[in-house]
Every structure is written in C-alpha cells, then in structure tokens.
C-alpha cells in the first residue's frame, strides 16, 4: 500500500477536523465542513480509480454510500441536542 497517494486526502481530513473543532457550537458551518470533507473523499476516490483505470459505477457507489453514512451520522449527532 503506497501511502503517498493518500497524502492529499489526509491533509483534507485534518483541515476538516480542525475546522469542526474551530467552529464548535456553530452547527451549519460544522455540517458544511463535513460535507466538504465527504465531497473531497468522493473526488479523491474517483480520480484515484480513474488514474488506475479501474473506475466503475460499483466503486463510486461504495464511496457514495460511506460518504452518505458519514454525513447522516454527523448531522444526526449535531442536531440531536
């Protein structure tokens, strides 16, 4: 497993995590940041698989469903108070 290809994604999620910490108590901004992280994760997945020439709808669906799960869990927690 080559970790270098994950470097952009690692940087994005770390920035996202910092943003969520920085904007604690501001729910709309926190949710926007999490959505941004998920879009970046999805984009990274598509680009990475396209480069490796193994992109398929089934693969995009896997990223989509995990991304959706992440947003659902996060939104549920922040709006459950």
């Amino acid at each position: 497993m080559k970790l270098a290809k994950y470097f952009p994604l690692i940087v994005i999620v770390l920035i996202g995590l910092f943003g969520i910490y920085w904007f604690n108590f501001n729910r709309p901004i926190q949710l926007s940041i999490m959505m941004g992280v998920v879009v970046a994760y999805l984009s990274w997945g598509i680009v990475n698989h396209a480069i490796k020439k193994d992109l398929h709808l089934k693969i995009i669906y896997e990223y989509l469903i995990l991304g959706f799960l992440a947003i659902l869990l996060f939104a549920t927690v922040i709006y459950s108070t």
Binding site: M1, V13, G16, N26, T76
Partner: protein
C-alpha cells in the same frame, strides 16, 4: 471462528474477499436501521420525556456570576443585572419562540437593539449573545468564551449592565432552552423612554428546569453513532491487514480511504459539544 462470523467480519472466499458488513447492500441496511433507531429515539423523547427527555438547569444568577468571573479575570468591571435589559432579553426570547427563528435579526428585520429601545433602556453601547440547547450555565459561558466575537461582548469593559432571559420552549419543532444575554451601558438622555417592565417577572418564572431526565437524546445518539463508526473502523483495519498479509487482489474501493473518513468522523463526533451559540 464460525463461518457466518468470518463471512460478516473478515475478507473470505464466501464474501468476495471483503467483510459482508462492508458491502454496499449491507451498508444500506445499516443506514435504514440507524434511521429507524433515530425515529424511535425521537418518539421516545416526545412520548416519555421522563426517560429520554430534554433537560436543562440554567439560572440567570449563575450566568451573571460566571460572566462576572470571566470579566474579572480579563480586567473588565463587573456588570449588574438591569431590569430593563432583562425585559429586552425576555422580549427577544419570546419573539424568537413566537416567530420560530434562531438569529440575531428577526425574519421581519427587527434588530436586537429594537428590543432594548422598547424596554426603555437608553444605551450608549449594547451587545447581544445567544445560546440554545445547553444543559448547564457553565457550558454556555464556556462556549461564549471560546468564540472570539461572543468573548469580545462578554469581557467588554464598556458594558456596565446585563440582562438575561432563559426561556424553555420549542424552536424549529424541538424542545430547547434559549439563553439571551444582552449587555449595555446607559446614557442620560431626554429620549430615554419609560416603559413598564413586565416581562422580566415572566422570565424569572419560566427559568426552571423543564425535565428531570438523566439521559439526554444527544448522548444516546452520540454514543450509538460512535459505536457504529468504531465498528466500521475495526472492520476496515481487519480488512486492510488481511488483504496485505494474504496479498489478495480484488476490484473494490480503497479501504484506507474509508478508514481515513471514518477516523475523521470519530474525531468530529468526539469534538462536538452540546449546544449552539450565535
């Protein structure tokens, strides 16, 4: 290990070399179950508030005390409760509940200062902090202090008076406790209006805990979500380890990318505290 457990949790020839729980079809079921769980939690909180209801215990005196502690630490003079500002804060809170909005400016464009003017408090300087969904006064003041703009208001040496309203009710269809904090400094002005102050009494009356639940919906949701995310992290770590160890070649998405997303989600959920401020 029994075969059905291997099938569910470990890359195996029966699950196309990926734990069945990580297959999109099973993930869809997990999402559905989680949504149903949340609906059940919400219904439980509505029908049996004594079990899983919304609970808060915020007193105006405690907000005043904690505000003055922070002001003292930061070299600002103490503020004292002002009945007119109390009235303005209570009117603002009542307006937010009545018009169902969560903002400094109302949907019809009413500024916070309008409530202060209406209370008869003629101000030279004025400021407003809002909070909702907190369960105790310490968390409210801590959240305000953590936000630069709210902190500037809270420890601003120009303010001499403070009004506070703690109002329980429904905002956006959800039970909440709304905290309105207004700061001001009076000017001696011929324009100062003398209006009756009646809402401050009401604010004091409604400043009571609204439920006696030991478990909050926020905590239940938070820990249920954490359980789910940690489960996926464990599955992904097992997946990455076994695929690397056995040198399995397969056509799937990248487990390490999923692991990064789930780890971020755990961090984000842990960071989140109860309550909102603007």
């Amino acid at each position: 290990m029994p075969n059905y457990l291997l099938h569910l949790f470990v890359p195996h020839h029966t699950n196309n070399q990926r734990a069945k729980l990580l297959h999109p079809s099973v993930l869809s079921v997990v999402i559905g179950v989680f949504v149903l769980f949340q609906i059940a939690i919400n219904q439980l909180a509505i029908r049996y508030p004594q079990i899983l209801g919304y609970a808060s215990n915020i007193s105006t005196e405690e907000i005043l005390r904690l505000t003055n502690i922070q002001r003292k630490i930061n070299g600002a003079g103490e503020v004292r409760l002002d009945s007119q500002l109390n009235s303005a804060a209570a009117q603002k809170a009542a307006d937010m509940m009545a018009r169902d909005y969560w903002a400094h400016i109302s949907p019809i464009g009413t500024q916070p200062w309008a409530f202060i003017n209406d209370s008869g408090y003629a101000y030279r300087y004025a400021g407003e902090n809002l909070a909702r969904d907190f369960s105790d006064p310490e968390s409210v003041v801590k959240a305000w202090m953590a936000s630069p703009s709210h902190r500037d208001n809270l420890i601003n040496g120009r303010y001499q008076d403070m009004g506070i309203a703690v109002v329980d009710g429904k905002l956006g269809g959800r039970e909440t406790t709304l905290v309105v904090q207004m700061f001001g400094t009076k000017i001696s002005s011929p324009f100062a209006m003398k209006l009756p102050v009646s809402i401050s009494v009401k604010a004091a009356e409604i400043n009571q805990p609204i439920a006696s639940s030991n478990i909050s919906r926020f905590e239940v949701t938070k820990y249920a979500s954490l359980f789910l995310v940690v489960l996926f992290i464990v599955l992904l770590v097992i997946d990455i380890f076994i695929v690397m160890k056995k040198g399995i070649v397969r056509w799937t998405s990248r487990s390490f990318a999923h692991l990064l997303l789930m780890t971020t989600l755990v961090g984000a959920i842990v960071i989140i505290s109860r309550g909102q401020i603007i």
